[in-house]
Subunit: 200 residues, 2 copies
């Protein structure tokens, strides 16, 4: 059969089993927003922190996640791994370990720009494809009272950098430069480009 | 009673009847994302197109919407009107009248930057408060096949500029500069600043 429609993700991936090697509900939401319903198989691969640049670290973690899941899947699946890093002044801010660290992170982010990197890795028929994205996010200046109000929402708990842009945190973000969906953890345009490269 | 928590929208607006003078499901979704559930009363005020700049036009339409709804509400309500304009090379692109015009708009947007303006107007105790936001959106270059694939999703039908950034259209957007939520029709950070000005 000759496919005539080979553009946009819901067409490109219509007859492909897509496997999302991530437990992130935000990544799943964004892929579904594109009309694609993946199988979710979170990777158990440990995250690396090996002193590389944020870009290389995000790419390597994305590849570890995709690889660890792909080895248990049929090779005609498209397995997608992703890793997102929040970086302020060359320091990676992970998920806060408690409210005190979350408050520290938010005080550091307040009134400043930071960077969000996502590495993406797709594996299809044993071939590995990678891409990445970088966005700049500007936080409005936050008072200690605003930070305390935010922590009461509990939104920070499972978020790198202690904030969620798709939630209460949105009101603190005055500006972004780059891909918004990357800040949510899944750079949709770059994923589309990657799928065109693999499948079109 | 003395309120101790006066930050963030869900606290600021906790004891206020918020009325959204807009039929946009995206604006409603964004306000609800902030923990605020408004009464939705779409305005019947006609949109103006009076040759002013996009910023003034968006502000004036936002005010018309808020005013027309506020006159039927208690004055202790906070009535919110908004108007969003998509502007390419000084030309306002409204909702496309048919698929042919939608295709024209998308061909014009392809590979270029455009601007999205939103005017916001809030009325509370008969006082009028206004703010606005501007974002720059970059479309990836689109082929005619991509445009035709997009039109088949029907997402363009009720969207200014013939695209939705929160949907299939996301895969065509390579970059934004400014407030993402403004591109969705409701600049959350600016609305938060406005509410602080009115209520804090």
């Amino acid at each position: 059969m000759c496919l005539t429609v080979i553009y946009m993700l819901h067409n490109l991936l219509e007859n492909i089993k897509v496997v999302l090697a991530s437990a992130s509900p935000r990544r799943l939401e964004l892929i579904k927003m594109m009309g694609v319903t993946p199988l979710v198989v979170p990777s158990l691969a440990p995250e690396q922190d090996n002193g590389k640049t944020p870009r290389l670290k995000a790419l390597q973690n994305a590849q570890s996640k995709a690889t660890s899941v792909a080895q248990n899947m049929d090779e005609d699946c498209l397995v997608v791994g992703a890793d997102t890093l929040v970086v302020l002044d060359n320091m990676v801010l992970g998920k806060p370990k408690d409210n005190q660290q979350a408050a520290e992170y938010l005080r550091m982010l307040s009134g400043k720009d930071h960077l969000v990197y996502t590495g993406l890795c797709a594996i299809h028929h044993q071939r590995i494809y990678k891409t990445w994205e970088k966005s700049n996010v500007r936080f409005a200046p936050l008072s200690d009272d605003e930070i305390q109000s935010y922590l009461l929402t509990n939104e920070h708990i499972d978020k790198a950098g202690a904030y969620g842009i798709q939630g209460y945190g949105a009101q603190f973000i005055s500006n972004i430069r780059g891909c918004y969906f990357n800040v949510m953890g899944f750079p949709i345009h770059k994923f589309y480009r990657l799928c065109l490269q693999i499948l079109a």
